[in-house]
Subunit: 343 residues, 2 copies
Amino acid sequence: MSEQRISETALLALATRALTAYGMPVADAADAAGVLVLADMFGIHTHGVSRIESYGERLDLDGINKTPRIEVTRIAPGLLMIDGDNGVGTLIGARALEAIMQAARETGIAAGFVRGSNHFGPITPYGWRAAEAGFASIIASNATTTIAPTGGKEARLGNNPIAFSMPNADGDHVILDMALSVVARAKIRDANKRGEKIPDTWATDRDGFPTTDPAAALDGILLPIGGYKGYGLSVMVDLFAGMLSGAAFLTGVKSWVDSPEEPQNLGHFFVLIDTARFASAGELASRMAAFTDIIHSTPAADPQRPVLLAGENEMRSLAQARADGISLPKDLIDSLEKKAAGH
Amino acid sequence: MSEQRISETALLALATRALTAYGMPVADAADAAGVLVLADMFGIHTHGVSRIESYGERLDLDGINKTPRIEVTRIAPGLLMIDGDNGVGTLIGARALEAIMQAARETGIAAGFVRGSNHFGPITPYGWRAAEAGFASIIASNATTTIAPTGGKEARLGNNPIAFSMPNADGDHVILDMALSVVARAKIRDANKRGEKIPDTWATDRDGFPTTDPAAALDGILLPIGGYKGYGLSVMVDLFAGMLSGAAFLTGVKSWVDSPEEPQNLGHFFVLIDTARFASAGELASRMAAFTDIIHSTPAADPQRPVLLAGENEMRSLAQARADGISLPKDLIDSLEKKAAGH
């Protein structure tokens, strides 16, 4: 597949026009596109502008609201409730983040709880924007059910992503953005194609028992990291992002694939902490330098593979994208151009 | 080993007297003991009053300050910095939690960042107290280095505990309190005694490579849950609890065992969210009932082992301790009595 380089500005304009062609107002389309373009700049192409087509399918079916009225209510000095009115998730996420940053600037810490949302992209772009503005963050979302409670044999929990970020004065913010399964389903599919066994920590068979057979695993359910620990993390994310926000939770979250015309009512939460309140910029910079030095100077088991911090690959990809543009499949750019031109 | 039942009141009085005998003022001793007694009521005996002896050793060496002046500074409406002045960790933790709950009542969300602390017990007691007062919580601490960064062959991170809690009107709060290693070192020791191999996800050998040999693992380093995910979580906890609070972090945390006379300068952080701001008590109760029902009704792989929520065993243990008293080894009670009597 041939790749093409495109600048951030050009990709943002293109993605915005494509979303506008699906019926979104231009200001909303630009905000929704901004998160997806950042995802591509971080190298997270599975969650970048390639998603516009599937967002568009649901916009066409009115499964997502083209013209949502996003409501932000300040329920306490440090707490915001955000009703996304079933808009595109990355639009709701971007607007929520803005509002929460404003509140956190006043109170030192603020949290936003979002309901009525949809897939809001990867979390790294939000964590990075928060870090750029000096905020440490904890951000998470619930998701369609793909994980079983420990000891159970039915998926009742999402592979809920959770992310933490900490600003670094040198621009290399530390950002951990992870889902809770040991591996993505694609990795099991790959093992199946190659006819290889898988570790029994990756998935259960359809009866809820750990399996080393990738075919049985594909028929079964993904296992979370650390067994009951990852299961517990998935529960807690859904309690914060779904239950407390007033969004759908657990099996109440509608499947994107099975019911494309029904609102998913996903929930997210964002906690932002203003690091400028803690110490001078110089002091924080020097602590971060000391911290990252200790990690980077760890002797590596394999000298060819030095120790990295969470987000380091993404920060490198971002720097490269800014310098040289973003490399994307030509087919993808062509199909966005076609959509944007109204074909 | 013979066990003895003792009531909460009697154990609290006894633990308080023992800590007083090590030189702590009685009000401080009572607060420090309260967390440990709760740990025992939750069945977490490894982190209960059995710790008083090791706390006492360090109090005797002045490695922990007997009469700390704990300073709470409100650096923003929703942010507190707490300097524990190297007091007993459970005293500092209990006082910090009180101050943060007060702030969170005003602002809806508040966080406290603690430096100058020591081992503050398990997190479940803090999460439970927060939940009893209607607060959802995220609480974590850094710790002495026992975990290597992914790909590294030296321990540079703690097995940092992190906990999440969500209040439930029926009293069965959901509390996840976990360390970040796949298993505790004790489990590897057990396998070694039995001459059994271990999964290669538990630990590395001394050269940083995953091993199935328990002897090599005991000579090596614990592995975190989910590989780079657990490593990343450990980093993020230390960035929040250590770096941001101004406490020691990573290899800067002194070993409790190797340098008992030196302050550890551990760091913790607490984020509390007032759930009463979100919806009426009745509405929250009904959402929690719906949530817990969905989890509990999951068909179990083994019908003898129904699906549980995080903290469920601890809540049962608490109910039993309240009804029948706390069961502890007679030796432990005897040694606390002896210490309390000044022998």
